[in-house]
């Protein structure tokens, strides 16, 4: 029995669900295939999503989506031992929010289904099928085939299907980072109290320094409705050489950190999770984002931005899925699903979008991430300066004296310091 769809979407994450929703809304016959049980069960992220692209894709997004807290406070900390220097920005705009990706994705899949897409779970796609001419004609799972005019590959960061197809090379440690996360139950009122936020408002917090065992990367803390998501992200390339203890211990040290643990004191760990993320998004992008009958979206397309102080993956994924969905509609209207046409309809606008422009502009982070020294020396320097300025027991040093003496502790000359700072500001 041959089953044929207009579009088969592989992977019901934010990219796949948004592609399915968009194509189905325009009346296409869409099949959304997911390897997990139910929607969302294989989804992991840090904790925060930017809303603007989702508002563009989903009407009534603000009213319906499972939003835990709107981020009101942005914090960035340099941590050394039990000391930290923190920068905080406060705003009451509704720009980004915290949630569980498991919930947000389930909601997106519900939207896709209500728009008419067929959702099939517990099906692991084994390969994308091509005909003799190289045109993608469907997908295969457990020996069964489903045919489609267009396949959207939204398989995620582990690109088993694209590798098999020869469209992506095997992932290298230099292209990805490992994120390990715990969700800790705290209670809604306690979060409001301890983080100093009103109901429905939250904190997004990025930390770097010895919280990653001085490995390039960072740690994060996000407040959800009644839990906090805490975790550590390390670049695999340097982690392979620098890691000194099992990685879960880093997250456990963050949870029990003397300056932080009171924020979630007595909180039970409700879930432990991990995922890879494309860390140098632009470098992880496949050579082409579309071939005859196929488009690639989300993490599989390398669409994740790390600026060092914020991370964007979910909204980029959703937006790329949306663009793939729209491109599918147009291509089928035009009756041309060839490589050239799909690249014109999908890849070109994507490459010209703010997403890819952002990825290109922020490539300086790659340079920073390949300098492990920064992650060790500068948090120590900053906390050293703050300690000299604020922990006064005798003579009060001037800012210059504090800086000079803290820099000398880290073996940094003032000239080197100024040059490094200049480079960091230029690069980020």
């Amino acid at each position: 029995m041959e089953t044929k769809f207009d579009v088969v979407v592989v992977g019901a994450g934010p990219a796949g669900a948004s592609a399915a929703y968009t194509a189905a809304r325009h009346g296409l016959k869409v099949l959304l295939v997911e390897r997990g049980r139910g929607a969302g069960s294989k989804q992991v992220f840090g904790g925060r999503v930017y809303a603007a692209p989702l508002r563009e894709i989903y009407e009534d997004f603000d009213k319906e989506a499972p939003i835990h807290r709107w981020v009101r406070k942005e914090r960035v900390s340099l941590v050394h031992g039990d000391r930290m220097v923190t920068f905080e920005y406060e705003s009451d705009r509704t720009v980004s929010f915290t949630t569980y990706l498991t919930q947000l994705t389930s909601w997106m899949v519900e939207k896709a289904v209500s728009a008419g897409a067929i959702f099939v779970d517990e099906v692991r796609v084994d390969s994308i099928v091509r005909d003799d001419a190289g045109k993608v004609i469907g997908v295969e799972s457990g020996g069964e085939r489903v045919y489609a005019d267009i396949v959207v590959d939204a398989e995620g960061v582990n690109r088993l299907l694209l590798e098999k197809l020869g469209l992506a090379e095997k992932t290298r440690p230099s292209q990805v980072a490992l994120g390990v996360k715990e969700v800790v139950k705290v209670g809604e009122d306690k979060i409001n109290e301890r983080f100093g936020v009103a109901p429905g408002e939250g904190v997004s917090w990025v930390l770097t320094g010895d919280v990653t065992g001085n490995m390039p990367g960072g740690a994060f803390i996000y407040t959800n409705k009644d839990t906090v998501s805490i975790g550590v992200v390390v670049y695999l390339e340097s982690a392979v050489n620098m890691v000194k203890e099992p990685i879960h211990i880093l997250v456990e040290k963050l949870r029990t950190h003397p300056s932080l643990s009171r924020l979630w004191a007595d909180g039970d760990v409700m879930e432990y999770a991990a995922r890879l993320t494309p860390e140098s998004g632009y470098r992880y992008m496949p050579r082409k984002l579309a071939t005859h009958g196929l488009m690639v979206a989300g993490d599989a397309a390398g669409l994740l931005l790390n600026t060092g102080y914020t991370f964007r993956g979910v909204d980029y994924a959703a937006l790329s899925g949306y663009m793939a969905g729209n491109a599918a509609v147009k291509a089928l209207e035009e009756g041309d699903t060839g490589e050239e046409n799909l690249r014109r309809l999908y890849e070109k606008p994507l490459l010209e979008s703010f997403i890819v422009r952002d990825l290109k502009r922020h490539r300086g982070i790659e340079w920073l991430m390949s300098n492990p020294e920064f992650f060790k020396k500068y948090p120590a320097l900053a906390t050293g300066v703050a300690c000299r300025l604020f922990d006064l027991e005798g003579e009060a040093p001037t800012v210059y004296e504090a800086l000079r003496s803290s820099a000398s502790d880290q073996g940094l000359s003032l000239l080197r310091l100024v040059l490094d700072m200049f480079r960091v500001v230029r690069k980020l």
């Binding site: 992991v44 582990n158 879930e271």
Partner: protein, 99 residues
Amino acid sequence: MSTGEAKPKLIRVEDLLQRTVYDVDHRAHIIVDPEKCARCPKKPCTYLCPASCYVLVDDRVVFSYEGCLECGTCRVICPMEAITWNFPVSGKGVQYRFA
């Protein structure tokens, strides 16, 4: 800051994994080639697998797939390419709820 609170203790990885829900398949979704693995000088998987699926016992890596969080790290870092990696079938494996 309060000083009376007991210092929180680190949770062992086997207890952390208890906080996460699994439907373990009886078929392993990851296969390790023991010969290639034995020749590996660094064995980074024993540190970087967040679920400690790879444990060093008498200089040999002992592998179990049951606690796998399906992140894919081992596949990327294995210097010997000793790992045949795929996702579990039939919706088995890790079942995230709050991630």
